[in-house]
């Protein structure tokens, strides 16, 4: 089938893809920053901190994103006078973009915090004990030892979360935003060429998703350098025996 519907509307699709990427990047950035205190708080010794955080994470991981999105966007419409009174209507809840970002951020923070929690628990206790032995304060331990290690441990799971969020932004088309899927529905109602459009959009998401997987795979590779053999360990062609012996001793 000639892909006329796609080619004629390429500019609209480009804008849609731009919005999708915008939403993804902003949500992930804010979500990651927020997930650190939340994830750490989840492991806090004090129940006053732990329980509300656990409740928040339970709600946002245990319910569908679409329900959260609708609750925030359409639900806020039920309280316009109240929201207006506290000045949150016109600048915030009135705009579908902010409602979408709020829902996405709350959602991804919860999932990322859980990943971070698992990752922090996976940091070898020996390293933490060593940090304590050095006299590092809790904060310094976190900053220098625990978190860097936790990020590395959690990276594979976080990669999944990144791709999931990227695909989940498609739901904002249901609250009037013109992301890639929103544009797709518009183009379909114009041209009636549903299959062409969905296959095209599916392909775009596929390509970008696998690009993200590859990108994060590269990051994983760089960050696990310390777990691989040192460079030059295998190839010893032409190295002088003396140097070889010397390097062998150092290793």
């Amino acid at each position: 089938m000639p892909f006329s519907a796609i080619i004629d509307n390429l500019d609209r699709f480009a804008w849609g893809a731009l919005l999708t990427i915008e939403l993804t990047v902003i949500s992930l950035a804010i979500g990651l920053v927020c997930a650190v205190p939340v994830g750490i708080g989840r492991l806090s010794r004090s129940p006053i901190i732990r329980w509300p955080i656990y409740a928040y994470m339970f709600v946002f991981r245990g319910t569908p994103l679409i329900a959260q999105l609708f609750l925030i966007y359409y639900g806020s419409g039920q309280f316009v006078p109240q929201l207006r009174a506290i000045g949150l209507w016109d600048g915030f809840f009135r705009e579908p973009m902010f409602c979408a970002l709020l829902a996405l951020v709350l959602n991804t923070t919860a999932y990322t915090a859980e990943i971070l929690r698992g990752a922090i628990l996976g940091v070898p206790t020996g390293e933490i004990e060593a940090a304590k032995a050095f006299g590092m304060s809790r904060l310094l331990q976190l900053r220098r030892v625990v978190l860097p290690r936790a990020f590395r441990i959690g990276l594979p799971a976080y990669t999944n979360e990144v791709v999931f969020l990227f695909q989940a932004t498609s739901l904002v088309s249901l609250i009037t935003l013109l992301d890639l899927v929103g544009v797709a529905r518009d183009v379909i109602s114009d041209t009636f060429r549903a299959h062409q459009v969905w296959i095209f959009v599916g392909a775009v998401y596929c390509v970008i998703s696998y690009l993200l997987f590859w990108l994060f795979g590269q990051l994983e590779y760089r960050w696990s350098a310390h777990l691989r053999a040192r460079p030059g360990a295998a190839a010893k062609t032409g190295a002088a025996p003396a140097t070889e012996a010397a390097t062998a001793m150092i290793r």
């Binding site: 359409y74 806020s76 419409g77 316009v80 209507w89 009135r94 579908p96 249901l174 009037t176 529905r185 518009d186 379909i188 109602s189 009636f192 549903a194």
Partner: protein, 263 residues
């Protein structure tokens, strides 16, 4: 595994064939409708389809000796669903337009009512030109004649499209959009006269330009099914002549919704 799948597919096909050939005297016709456009088609608190479109559809089926079954379908997928044969006819206040005629056939119209804007009371919107509505947000149901008209006529306004008319109305109430355009009756009976519609009022004048809004609402049928089109056309004539149409009309409206006799 593979063999079982093929076997069950063949069984399903055989079943469908048998069910199909065991047809009664009356032709079975499935009618697609939205169920979210009061007073023409909506779902009552018991979950039943009601409205002008539904009553007209039932009357037409009786007149054409069809056995009709309704299928609910979201508006923006209603034509693709027709083409995917999920139903055989669309009776959902779908306006006859050239753009749609490229992909489906239409029967003669079965009603025609004008289009109108609504806005919040005291909005102060009195002029309706591309300039005066610069920057205003206009809410519309997507995939409608209203969307095409507004996009072309008011290019400086921000167009926000919704899946259903109700969602557009709800956002007018909450103030997310400044104006909503739709069928005058759907706005009046379906919204302004309800509790939620107390906030808003009609603004501006009727829009009836046939170039944008077509001759009226018709029944959409897949291309190549001329018999079905003719059958419905004959049925429409019949119920207009024998008074059934007037009875249904008067049940819902205080005036004649058919409009000028066209064609």
């Amino acid at each position: 595994m593979k063999k079982t799948i093929i076997a069950s597919l063949v069984a399903a096909a055989a079943l469908a064939l048998v069910a199909g050939t065991a047809a009664a005297d009356m032709k079975k016709v499935k009618i697609g409708t939205e169920g979210a456009y009061p007073p023409f088609n909506s779902i009552d608190p018991e979950g039943k389809l009601v409205g002008f479109d539904i009553d007209i559809a039932n009357a037409l089926c009786a007149a054409a000796n069809f056995e009709c079954e309704f299928v609910i379908q979201d508006w923006d997928g209603i034509i693709p669903a027709l083409q995917a044969k999920k139903f055989d006819a669309i009776i959902a206040s779908m306006s006859i337009t050239d753009k749609r005629k490229e992909v489906v056939d239409f029967t003669d119209k079965y009603y025609n009512t004008p289009t109108h804007f609504i806005a919040a009371k005291g909005s102060g919107i009195t002029e309706f030109t591309a300039e005066s509505l610069d920057g205003k947000r206009i809410g519309l149901q997507g995939a409608t004649i209203f969307e095409d008209f507004v996009r072309a006529t008011f290019p400086k306004s921000e167009v926000v499209t919704y899946g259903t008319q109700d969602e557009a109305n709800a956002d007018l109430v909450s103030g997310r959009v400044d104006l909503v355009m739709a069928d005058k009756i759907a706005l009046d009976d379906g919204f302004l006269k309800t509790d939620a519609g107390a906030c808003c009022e009609f603004v501006g004048a009727d829009y009836t330009d046939e170039k944008w809004f077509g001759p009226g609402a018709g029944i959409a049928i897949r291309k190549g099914e001329g018999d079905l089109v003719d059958a419905f056309n004959a049925a429409i004539k019949k119920i207009r002549e024998d008074g059934t149409y007037k009875k249904i009309n008067d049940k819902y409206f205080a005036f004649d919704v058919y409009g000028e006799p066209a064609m």
